[in-house]
């Protein structure tokens, strides 16, 4: 696992024009950016696009990275904005099938098992899809990416307390939706 100081060195080298350093940063943070994008957009191709766009923007704006937050948090901020913007722009005509649901259905051979796999794997994803994008982002950042309230506040551009209260509301809504679906 790469620790913070090493990442800071890589960021400084990348900002100085070292392409290899930036490649390492991409390798280190590719999964987390893709994960957030996939949970926010429900589409692997869209998530891949957002991932590339995130790193492209990061590369262009490396000079503006001041180092007040972690580099990963900064990347989350870019990715979250891109996802929210994409969600706003695209009106989904149909509910996409989450990749976990497809994978679970392919692995199970018995039709009943396939249904169960689809049900268990897609329940949380369906509940997330039913939430408003901001609430969804809060749940994803807190319980999938395991960020603390301070980091979430930085990403959303609000205070720690505000992120805490927003998250409490999002959790309540999530549980209501989840229980309704089951």
């Amino acid at each position: 696992m790469t620790v913070g100081p090493e990442i800071d060195c890589l960021v400084r080298a990348a900002a100085a024009g070292d392409r290899g350093a930036f490649d390492q940063l991409v390798q280190l943070h590719a999964d987390q950016v893709y994960r957030v994008a996939l949970r926010m957009l429900d589409d692997p191709d869209d998530a891949e696009d957002v991932q590339q766009e995130t790193f492209l923007q990061a590369y262009r704006r490396l000079d503006s990275f001041r180092g007040e937050a972690a580099f990963g948090t900064w990347l989350y901020t870019i990715a979250a904005r891109l996802c929210l913007g994409r969600r706003r722009r695209s009106a989904r005509l149909h509910e996409p099938i989450a990749p976990e649901m497809r994978a679970g259905a392919q692995q199970a051979h018995n039709p009943q098992d396939q249904l169960d796999a689809l049900d268990s794997a897609g329940r949380v994803q369906r509940t997330l899809a039913a939430l408003a994008p901001r609430d969804r982002l809060l749940i994803v950042l807190r319980y999938i990416e395991e960020l603390n309230h301070e980091e979430i506040g930085r990403i959303l551009g609000c205070s720690t307390e505000s992120s805490r209260s927003r998250l409490a509301r999002a959790k309540r809504l999530f549980r209501q939706h989840y229980e309704r679906m089951n």
């Binding site: 590339q52 329940r123 949380v124 319980y143 959790k171 549980r175 989840y178």
Partner: protein, 244 residues
């Protein structure tokens, strides 16, 4: 009910950390609703943990696939552009082909300006307004060349026109009994008429055969006009003879 609302955060935290605080535990003993909620949140937490197991595709591979897609798109665009250029060229070619005869049709129209002699006046030289050098634009040969480019249907009508066929007649001495050729060709007579017009016998002043130093220096024989020399005319009997 208000107590249950307060324990919402504690339920999520307990499900996340798998640790039950005393206060929450005592509440759960007396509240079935919160127990059910805790079971739900624990299930949610497990599924959320499962959602973390996602591997991003290799960024380099993603970039490569994107480049391949872009290359395919560029090839299609180039192919379409090439097809469009070919179609455009094919569309303009017939226009060029039609435009060339249209411009050449102007010159044969000059031919009728020549006064056409009749067959009976074959001995007399044709009266052409102004002799033009062979090959010059507007000359008879140029007209013949341009007429040769006209479509066959056009050429046939021009060949049977008023002026063009009649121009050929002075060159031909119609022999008696010989069948006359049909006057269908245009180019050859036009060319010959010009020669006849350009070479009427003109009285030329005979030049004395004097050696010219200029010719010597060029090592070329002096060119003398083709006019008949007066000293030879008597020997050949071409001079003036009194009728016997």
């Amino acid at each position: 009910m208000s107590d249950c609302h307060e324990f919402e955060d504690a339920l999520w935290e307990a499900a996340e950390t798998r640790h039950l605080p005393n206060k929450l535990a005592s509440h759960l003993e007396s509240c079935d609703r919160c127990r059910h909620a805790l079971a739900t949140v624990s299930s949610v937490m497990r599924e959320l943990t499962a959602l973390r197991q996602v591997e991003a595709p290799d960024p380099a591979a993603a970039v490569r696939s994107r480049l391949v897609r872009q290359k395919h798109r560029q090839r299609w665009v180039l192919a379409l552009a090439g097809a469009a250029v070919l179609c455009g060229a094919a569309a303009t070619l017939p226009l060029v082909r039609h435009q060339a005869p249209a411009s050449s049709l102007v010159r044969p129209a000059v031919i009728p300006a020549v006064k056409a002699p009749t067959r009976s006046s074959a001995v007399a030289p044709p009266r052409i307004s102004e002799p033009t050098p062979i090959g010059a634009p507007g000359s008879a040969s140029a007209a013949a060349q341009s007429a040769a480019q006209i479509a066959p249907s056009k050429r046939s009508t021009l060949g049977r026109g008023e002026g063009a066929p009649a121009l050929r007649t002075p060159m031909r001495e119609p022999s008696e009994g010989a069948p006359q050729e049909p006057e269908s060709e245009l180019a050859k007579p036009c060319y010959q008429v010009t020669i006849v017009v350009a070479s009427p016998p003109q009285p030329v002043e005979p030049r004395p055969m004097v050696a010219d130093p200029t010719y010597r220096s060029l090592s070329m024989p002096p060119q003398v006009d083709a006019a008949p020399r007066p000293e030879l005319s008597g020997d050949l009997g071409i001079g003036i003879h009194e009728p016997s």
